[in-house]
């Protein structure tokens, strides 16, 4: 899940297109959808007779989430021409899905968003007979995912990571002084005892209420996906105590801030912390960055492949999913972006450095510790957003 | 040699009280354009001084230097014997009425007139009194609350005048004050303007390109060309005795004969031209054999069908054009030498033709003091 700020410009365009669509009523056909890939329309015009699917596949995925050879190899293997568009946030993908007629055959929402889309009837069921490589999938991960998608009928994990604490080891040591590292490393961002010290070298918090609240709720011993407003108030009160010590709210950009020494502690994505680590090693900078695996557990997120209900090329989409599930292909993704994959057959092909990194390839126990992807209703999301806004403004 | 009555210098200035003195002023724009070239003049208290000249001759530039909008490149300007050359315009007790009025569009007539008074921190009630008096003078009371764009051209002109007079300036500068009005309105306004100015008793410098306007309004006129003065004097003097071909040509209509002095006596000279021989009844500064111009105003020429007596001061030609002006008629006659001479006859009878019509052969004759001999 990689955010960058260009999402906002995109989002404005989506708002525009979305409002138009919504305004034109619920008809799926009416809208001249600006966001629809041009290629698919062109090809559609030259489409062969029904039955046979044209050799085209439209994919909508996160940016920087591929190995260089992933697509070319698929095209070579199948003769299917891939059109690959990227997005930067679940929110934007979701808005497009709601507006329908995305023109995509594969989209990659995070699993909790995927669930909303399933509930809205926006995603079609997988035909597992077309996915012989399904057997490669790790049952642990499948079980985690099944909590949102019972029977794993719609979503297939692309890669996964988790929200946790990342630190600049030396700076944190200096800032804490005599104080030892806490038993529960979440204390580094949630306990004023620690944050008041770490304030000096900079604390950054993810600007994503739906990812911070499950952790904060668990921290104050409430259900992670509680639907009770009072629970959120409790988590909010806890957060407000550390608010004066927080330097920054980031949506992405923590990689830079950590690698350059601007901040020393971050609540963010493990994958990003490992990228920051990789980068500071490559740049031979003195910042020693580490993702922490907390005892209490972080918030697991999976970015999952799904086929929109109105996809024009579902067969090709299945072919693509099956291709990704090949061990070698899936390992290629992991090697490129340092995110873990759910594919057992891939493990032999994953580079040792990544395989041995306990913050990427978590132990089974650590995986079990994670908060599995979950979801709340719209009303609760509103409470989350509202409280988080208040938290950010500090009033 | 005989002395001709040619006022080269500004003789009357000496006898009266001088208000404005311009001494050797030159203005060069952008290092190259010489707009005003070494000009000197004096303006007496109470007089209306006209600056007359064709477009682009530097009148406005000279006026703007008096107002303080332009700095002279060389020379000095004195007001009441005080050197004001370097005084910024807002400190000069001089007001100007602009060529197209420059009334403040966002202010009412009343506020426009009061504008200058407010800058002097005059008490409010006095301002009100003064403004009302000015509006009365300019017959504008009814329009006090209007904005300039809601007024006619003539009304705007009067507002501009009222505004420039409100501060009771020592000197009033008028740049083409009637230039924006149509001809009919201009004639009535000329006199109105003079009346108001005389009622207030302010000294004026008036810029115009219209010689009639200058003649009607000014007590003295400076004729300008290419940045310098050709002649300064009372309107009648300039009209009757221009000191150069250029002035003669500029002021009113004139027939110009080129010739040679063949007799030079103290009391008369004789000039031989192509179509006639002039006998001039006074002497001149020059000598025999000199090439001169003889200027003859059309209204000084009489027409007849019979050949005049004597050998001097007549010419003959064929009528090629008759232009009827109502009060007078102008005839164009072509001489054998190919020149066209204009003659003007007053229409004091209802017999308009004076017996002449197109193609007629006619004689022109004039008195021996009718012409002006020009050496420049």
């Amino acid at each position: 899940m990689k955010l960058s700020n260009s999402k906002y410009l995109l989002s404005m365009a989506v708002i525009g297109a979305g409002l138009t669509l919504a305004g034109c009523g619920e008809s799926d056909k009416t809208a001249a959808d600006a966001s629809k890939p041009a290629a698919s329309t062109e090809v559609a015009a030259a489409a062969p007779a029904a039955g046979e699917e044209e050799k085209v596949l439209n994919i909508y995925n996160w940016s920087d989430y591929l190995a260089e050879d992933t697509i070319p190899n698929f095209e070579k293997e199948t003769g299917i021409k891939v059109r690959y568009d990227i997005f930067d946030s679940n929110e934007i993908l979701h808005a497009k899905m709601i507006a329908k007629n995305t023109g995509y055959d594969i989209v990659v929402p995070s699993s909790n968003w995927g669930k909303m889309q399933i509930d809205g009837g926006l995603i079609q069921k997988l035909d597992k007979s077309k996915l012989p490589n399904w057997k490669n999938l790790d049952p642990t991960v499948l079980a985690q995912l099944a909590q949102l998608d019972p029977g794993n009928e719609h979503l297939v994990d692309w890669l996964w990571s988790y929200t946790t604490v990342g630190i600049n080891v030396d700076k944190v040591k200096t800032a804490l002084g005599d104080m030892p590292m806490p038993e529960n490393t979440w204390d580094l961002v949630f306990d004023p005892k620690y944050t008041s010290k770490l304030k000096s070298c900079g604390i950054s918090m993810l600007d994503a209420p739906s990812e911070v609240f499950p952790i904060a709720l668990r921290y104050v011993h409430k259900p992670e996906f509680s639907l009770v407003e009072a629970d959120y108030k409790a988590a909010f009160d806890m957060l407000m105590k550390v608010r004066p010590d927080i330097k920054r709210f980031n949506s992405g950009g923590q990689i830079e801030d950590l690698a350059s020494g601007n901040i020393c502690v971050a609540l963010g994505w493990a994958g990003d912390f490992n990228l920051a680590r990789k980068r500071s090693i490559e740049n031979k900078s003195e910042q020693h960055i580490e993702a922490l695996v907390t005892k209490m557990g972080g918030y697991m997120f999976m970015d999952t492949m799904a086929i929109p209900a109105d996809a024009k090329h579902p067969n090709n989409a299945h072919k693509f999913i099956n291709y990704i599930l090949e061990g070698k292909v899936h390992a290629g993704l992991t090697n490129a972006v340092t995110y873990a994959n759910p594919n057992k057959a891939a493990t032999p092909f994953v580079s040792d450095e990544i395989k041995n990194n306990k913050t990427i390839y978590l132990s089974d126990a650590d995986v079990k510790n994670l908060i599995p992807p979950g979801n709340v209703d719209n009303a609760t999301r509103r409470i989350e957003t509202r409280l988080y806004t208040q938290f950010k403004t500090g009033t | 040699m005989a002395t001709a009555p040619k006022p080269q210098t500004d003789s009357k200035a000496i006898t009266k009280e001088v208000l404005l003195r311009v001494e050797g002023v030159t203005k060069i724009y952008d290092g190259t354009v010489k707009a005003v070239d070494n000009v000197s003049l004096t303006v007496n208290k109470g007089e209306i001084f006209g600056l007359l000249g064709g477009s682009g001759c530097g009148k406005s530039t000279l006026l703007r230097m008096m107002a303080g909008f332009e700095k002279p490149t060389k020379g000095k300007i004195f007001l009441d014997n005080q050197d004001i050359t370097d005084l910024p315009s807002y400190q000069r007790p001089i007001n100007m009425m602009f060529q197209s009025y420059a009334l403040f569009p966002h202010l009412s007539v009343w506020e426009n007139v009061a504008f200058g008074l407010k800058r002097d921190n005059m008490p409010k009630d006095e301002i009100a009194k003064r403004v009302d008096a000015m509006l009365t003078l300019a017959q504008l009371n009814k329009y006090a609350q209007r904005k300039p764009h809601q007024l006619s051209g003539g009304q705007q002109q009067r507002v501009a005048l009222a505004r420039s007079l409100a501060k009771r300036p020592k000197l009033l500068l008028l740049d083409e004050p009637l230039g924006a009005l149509d001809k009919k309105l201009r004639e009535t306004t000329q006199l109105e303007l003079v009346n108001i100015i005389e009622e207030v008793g302010v000294t004026c410098v008036l810029v115009t390109h219209d010689q009639e306007e200058a003649m009607t309004m000014a007590s003295r006129i400076a004729v300008m060309s290419e940045g310098y003065f050709l002649q300064i004097g009372e309107p009648d003097v300039i009209y009757e005795t221009p000191n150069s071909r250029q002035v003669a040509d500029f002021i009113g209509n004139v027939n110009m004969f080129e010739g040679e002095v063949i007799v030079d006596e103290p009391d008369h000279i004789i000039v031989k031209c192509d179509e006639c021989t002039h006998y001039v009844g006074h002497g001149f500064t020059g000598n025999k054999g000199m090439a001169v111009g003889v200027a003859l105003r059309p209204e000084k020429i009489m027409l007849s069908k019979d050949k005049p007596k004597g050998e001097y001061n007549w010419a003959e030609g064929v009528v090629t054009e008759i232009v009827y002006f109502g009060d007078h008629t102008t005839y164009h006659l072509k001489t054998a030498a190919g020149h066209v001479i204009k003659a003007q006859e007053i229409n004091n009878t209802r017999d308009l033709s004076c017996g002449l019509t197109w193609g007629d052969h006619a004689y022109m004759h004039w008195g021996d003091l009718a012409m002006i001999v020009l050496t420049h």
Binding site: G18, T20, I98, K392 | M96, R119
Partner: protein, 295 residues
């Protein structure tokens, strides 16, 4: 028949074009937004306003969103804060832009096109890039701090980023041309004889500026201020990139409603209230001014 004839008479058509434009690009979208604001969000779609019961249509209008906006202090606070930042931006743009436009208009005629070009030059670069550039200037290890530190002007980096300071800088920087251009257009048309007339009547240049130049450029000031103020109120990108967590702007709240809360009707209601907040006072101002002109 007659009506049809009237419709196609030349000048009616000419008048009709801007109205048609307005209808198509402003009125209709606005109506759609209003319609959405009066519906309810279902899981992944907006509710239908008209439902059919027993073959009869029932119109269901949901005003809850508007009620909610006024019941939760957050929105009111955010509107006030947005207007505050927009006002500050407008005033600073005016303070910087006016002298800028003034000297441009007074510059020699032959350099004016170049100056104008320079004002518009930034538009050749992506807006987003330019905002990012400010980021690199303002961050604690950014250019400004590095220079000041190496010159020993400061010991610790100044906190210039992600607060109201960086937000204001970004907004002023981005909107300044929209202030300068109408002001320049206005000031370059100013007849300098008015200033001469003022000087002639005893007004110092400084006074003349306030008494003549400023009132006569009122139209330019109003146009420039509108061009800055209106988009600044709803500005989203700059507060998102340069603002801090505590700089509340309605654009961000709108984004949250739309994307985080997935509540389109609420987002639409927030937008409608924002438009009303800007347009209503402006319409009143316009009317009052028109009346003043008439009197």
């Amino acid at each position: 028949m007659n009506m049809l004839k009237n419709l196609f008479q030349g000048n009616k058509l000419v008048i009709g074009i801007p109205y048609g434009w307005f209808l198509l690009l402003v009125a209709i979208p606005l109506l759609i937004v209003m319609k959405i604001s009066l519906s309810e969000m279902e899981a992944t779609s907006v509710s239908n306003m008209i439902s059919w019961t027993n073959g009869l249509p029932t119109l269901k209008l949901n005003f809850a969103n508007y009620q909610f906006i006024f019941s939760d202090a957050l929105y009111v606070k955010t509107y006030i804060s947005s207007i505050k930042y927009a006002l500050i931006t407008t005033l600073i743009c005016l303070a910087i832009g006016y002298p800028f436009a003034y000297f441009m208009a007074r510059a020699p005629k032959h350099v004016q096109p170049t100056l104008l070009m320079l004002i518009m030059l930034p538009f050749w670069t992506s807006f987003l890039l330019r905002i990012y550039a400010w980021k690199t200037l303002l961050v604690s290890n950014g250019v400004i701090n590095n220079v000041l530190m190496s010159l020993h002007v400061i010991n610790a980096p100044l906190e210039m980023m992600n607060n109201s300071f960086s937000l204001t800088i970004g907004m002023v920087y981005s909107y300044l041309p929209f202030m300068i251009l109408p002001l320049y257009a206005n000031l370059s048309k100013l007849d300098l004889r008015y200033l001469e007339a003022a000087a002639d009547l005893g007004t110092s240049p400084f006074k003349a500026f306030w008494l003549i130049t400023v009132p006569l450029s009122k139209a330019g000031i109003i146009a420039g201020s509108m061009l800055v103020f209106i988009p600044a109120v709803g500005e989203f990108v700059i507060p998102e990139l340069l603002g801090g967590p505590d700089t509340l702007m309605i654009g961000r709240v709108l984004w949250d409603e739309f994307f985080s809360n997935n509540d389109w009707p609420m987002a639409a209601a927030v937008a409608v209230v924002m438009i009303a907040l800007i347009l209503v006072p402006m319409a009143i101002l316009n009317k009052a001014e028109a009346k003043l002109e008439e009197a």
